[in-house]
Each structure stands twice: as C-alpha cells, then as structure tokens.
C-alpha cells in the first residue's frame, strides 16, 4: 500500500505553524496512532486562501500550484491539507490548470521562472479528515480507542469550504464526503464514543472570511453557531478548520457580553478529542492552547 506513488504529502499551511499549533500537534498524534504516514512539503508557501484572488487571478493560481508542483516532485499523488481554506484554494488551482490550456501554459511559465517544476493539475487534494476516514476507517479508529468519550455530547461543525464547491473539492464523487450533508466528522466522533447531536448549522459560514473586517457579521455568525450547539445540548463545538476555530473562539468574549454566558460552548479541534480518546493526556492534546476552557468541561466529566 505504501508504494512511492501512494505517499501522502502534507501541506500544513500558515495557520498550523502559527495559531493552530494545537491542531498540528494533535493531528500528528492521531496520524501516528493510526499508522498514517505523511511527508511534509518542504519549503511550502502560502496558498493565498480566499484573499489573494481579489488582487489577481493568476497569482491566486500560481501560489497554490507551486505547492502542488512540489508535492508532485516528491512523488506524491495526493496533498493533505488540514485547513478548509487551503483545500479550497489548492482544489481551485487544480481546476484552473486542468480546465484551460492557456492558464496552464501561463502558470507553468511562472512556475519555471520561480524555480519550481511544471505542473499538470494531477495531484489530488484531500482534507485531513478524509484521509483519516479513508485510510484508518471507522473500524480502525474504533479499535484504537483506549478511553471512549462516553457521555460527551458534541456538535460537529464542518464550516464552509470543506466540501464547497464540489467543482473544486470533488465532493460527492469517489471517496469524498457529501457536499451538502457531510458526515465524516459525525462518524469519527461516534467511533470514539461521543454522542453526536443533530446540528443543522454544520456547514453554515462562520464569518471567518471577514473575521476582523466585518465584525457585525463574524460575531453574528459565531454566536448563531454557538447558540445552536447550546440549544442542541452539546458540551463542545468540534471544528476542523483553523480559521473557523480561531474566529469563533476569539469572538467568545464579545458573544458572552452580547448574548450571555449560557450560549457559549468550548471549541475544540476534532483531532484533539480523538487524541484524548486514544489515551493521550489533556496536555498532549494541547487543550490549554484553546481560548475557550475545554479542559474544565473534560475535567468535570472525569477525563
């Protein structure tokens, strides 16, 4: 299975080397426990997220393409990104390069001049949750659980760009998640013993795109998401995107003031809960990194 072409290239993106350190460390723990191997792309650059494309189309294809080209050079057939924004812009670059010969030619000439290999748009882009789901499987995760999170109620929040739009992410095809009703995180959380609540806002926007630029919107959406999680009786809001995670967490002080303490739930990465269930300590899962007090709730429940 681990032939050279099957090797996964890991694209951490800027968040995992910055604010999202807890996500990185807990993902590494989970991957190690499940025997999933990934090789990090050395010398990667920012993928441009959704910001660069308003300045220039070509630049917004060139930046992610360089990372994909490096992955190809490493002999990988797939790039794994932990961030919805990265999954979006890498997938968008693939689409731009494969659907238009002119764009492909232009981007390749930029790549060559920047000292990167040419790229034909043939490296698959995957979110880390899809890799865990596909490689380890629900059964594999269940077998690895040392300390099931029995009695912990979680609301799974996928965010916007994980499956959307399917023309970039390929959602709904092959082994990918359903574009309108994603369920991979629900299944993984059930596998580690948590109770998954019905959460209709799982793919709503969190306002993270304008986290600081449009405060009314980003606070409004974060509050709506937390409120719905609280209404559904969840103990945690579980996330899989460093931007969404940061946005909702950093808004908590404002939400507390505007809507009251009772709507707020601690926010954790899905890999943090998985690491806990696999027997790692709260410290190893880096729960103290979170601005919201996730540790307290877990302590009260005896974890």
């Amino acid at each position: 299975m681990n032939s050279k072409n099957d090797e996964l290239a890991f694209y951490p993106g800027c968040s995992l080397d910055g604010m999202g350190k807890a996500y990185r460390k807990s993902s590494e723990l989970v991957n190690r426990d499940l025997g999933i191997e990934m090789k990090e792309i050395v010398n990667y650059n920012c993928c441009g997220a959704t910001e660069v494309k308003t300045a220039s189309y070509d630049l917004s294809v060139f930046l992610p393409s360089r990372n994909l080209a490096l992955a190809k050079q490493m002999g990988s057939s797939a790039v794994v990104a932990p961030c919805n924004g990265c999954v979006f812009s890498l997938g968008r670059a693939n689409r731009a390069i494969t659907e238009d010969a002119e764009t492909r030619k232009r981007i390749n000439s930029y790549l060559n001049r920047a000292g990167a290999p040419s790229y034909e748009g043939d490296v698959e882009v995957k979110h880390i949750i899809e890799v865990i789901y596909e490689r380890a499987g629900i059964e594999g995760v269940r077998r690895r659980v040392r300390r099931p999170l029995t009695g912990i109620r979680v609301a799974c929040y996928y965010g916007c760009l994980y499956t959307r739009p399917k023309i970039y992410t390929g959602a709904g095809t092959g082994k990918k998640d359903n574009p309108e009703h994603p369920h991979f995180m629900d299944d993984l959380m059930s596998a580690i013993g948590a109770d998954v609540v019905d959460f209709p806002l799982k793919t709503v926007c969190c306002g993270g795109g304008h986290a600081i630029a449009d405060r009314e919107v980003s606070v409004g959406f974060s509050a709506a998401i937390l409120n719905e999680a609280a209404r559904a009786g969840a103990d945690f809001l579980v996330t899989m995107c460093p931007l969404g995670h940061m946005n909702i967490e950093a808004n908590i002080p404002v939400i507390e003031k505007q809507y009251g303490k009772e709507v707020v739930r601690p926010v954790v990465y899905f890999t943090q809960l998985m690491a806990l269930a696999f027997g790692h300590s709260r410290r190893e899962a880096r729960l103290s990194d979170n601005f919201s007090d996730a540790g307290r709730v877990l302590r009260e429940r005896g974890f």
């Binding site: 910055g18 350190k21 300045a55 630029a213 959406f221």
Partner: protein
C-alpha cells in the same frame, strides 16, 4: 377605468392618469400599478465585456437569473441583509446599469466567500468569483471606495509577499492598528498575546518563517501583479 376591490390595493400603488388613450379608447382615471414606470438612459455594455474578459468573471454569461444563489446566500438569508443579492449584481452588470450598480457599493463587498452559491448554481456560474470581479471592477472605476474587506485583502497580500508565508499575528496587529478598531483595546490584545506566548505560538524576535528562495518567487509574483494592474502599497 374603475378599479374593483380597491381596498386590496395599497394607496400608494394607485396612480391617476388624466388623459390616457389606448387604441382609440379613453382609459383615463385611476390605475393600479405594480411597478413604477422608469426609463433607463445610462447604461454601459462595457461592464459586461470587462467582467467576461477576466478569467474569474468568465462564467457570468451562463446565468439564467433563477436566484438560487441569493436564496441560499448566507449574507442574504442567514444574516438577513436583504440588499445583498448576488443574482441582482449579475443582472446589473449584464445590462450595464451603472447608476443602480453604484448604489450597491456599501453592500457588495460583504460577500464572505462561503461558496454556497457556486456549489448550488444549476448553470455552473462561479457566482462568488463573479461577484468579487464586479466588486473590484467597481473599485477600479472609482465607483466604490476602498472598503474594510479590500483593505484586509491588501494587508494579507502585503504580509504574504514579505516571506512567502503568512504571519497571522502581524497581519492582525497591523490591520487593527491601521483601521483603529476600538473593540480590540490594549487590554484585549495583551490578554491574547499572553495566551499565545504561554502556549509558544508567538515567534519571539525578528525571525519569521520564510519560504527558501522566496526572493526569486516574489519577483515572479510582482510581475503577475503588475500585469493584472494591482498596485502593492508598501
């Protein structure tokens, strides 16, 4: 012409026509109107051509105005900003209604790029990209001023162009400083900084993550920006 069941019609929808003739018959009197008559005198077909000629706006001509984008739009439906209407933005850009388009300047930049519209469009219009193309075209033409989102994007790009990798903390710090956002006072920032320091997420000192060979890549990036007419402000 008499209007039956006048009580069903709102008063301001009734107009008086003193002398009206239709095919030789006198139809003067009170009329019910749903839509005010108006004449569109200023329109610029160039808007459509310009949007269509950009790769991000290429799909604008596929739109058949069904409104699927607007009905699910998170700004329109979830946030409840009724003036935010992607179907209408596309309509205006296509007929080239400059005056009406200019009225959208305080609304159109608020698109969050959640891509629900792109996902659901039955005609594969990349609505989100088209809307952003219209928005930046309006700014380029001077029909709309810079806005908080465009300034954020500028700051983001400036940050990335330094080393090839985004430094979130300096991005946040610079943007909050330049926009003079009062909400993030010294107390809030200190609390955030302390937490980040404690958990080892602030790189102390001047050393930033850097893509090796970035100088060479940056030259190409600058060239692309110049080609696309984007000015990177220092």
């Amino acid at each position: 012409m008499p209007i039956h069941e006048k009580h069903l019609i709102e008063a301001d929808k009734i107009i008086e026509k003193e002398k009206a003739e239709l095919e030789g018959r006198d139809v003067s009197g009170q009329w019910n109107t749903f839509i005010e008559q108006r004449i569109l005198s200023q329109y610029e077909p160039e808007i459509f051509q310009k949007i269509y000629s950009r790769p991000e706006g290429r799909t604008i001509n596929r739109c058949w105005q069904c409104g699927t984008c607007t009905s699910g739009c998170c700004m329109h439906t979830d946030f409840g900003l009724r003036e935010f209407n992607p179907r209408y933005f596309i309509y205006l850009a296509r007929i080239g209604d400059v005056e009406e388009l200019k009225k959208q300047k305080d609304v159109i930049w608020r698109c969050l790029a959640c891509n629900k519209c792109v996902e659901r469009c039955p005609k594969d219009v990349r609505v989100e990209e088209v809307v952003h193309a219209i928005e930046s075209y309006m700014r380029k033409k001077g029909w709309a001023p810079d806005n908080p989102a465009s300034r954020w994007d500028d700051e983001y790009l400036r940050n990335v162009m330094k080393t090839g990798i985004l430094d979130e903390i300096s991005l946040l710090r610079n943007y909050i400083r330049d926009e003079k956002l009062e909400e993030f006072d010294t107390h809030y920032m200190m609390r955030m900084a302390l937490k980040l320091l404690k958990t080892g997420r602030v790189r102390t000192g001047p050393v930033r993550h850097r893509t090796k060979g970035w100088n060479r890549i940056r030259k190409v990036a600058e060239e692309i920006l110049e080609k696309d007419g984007y000015e990177l402000k220092e």
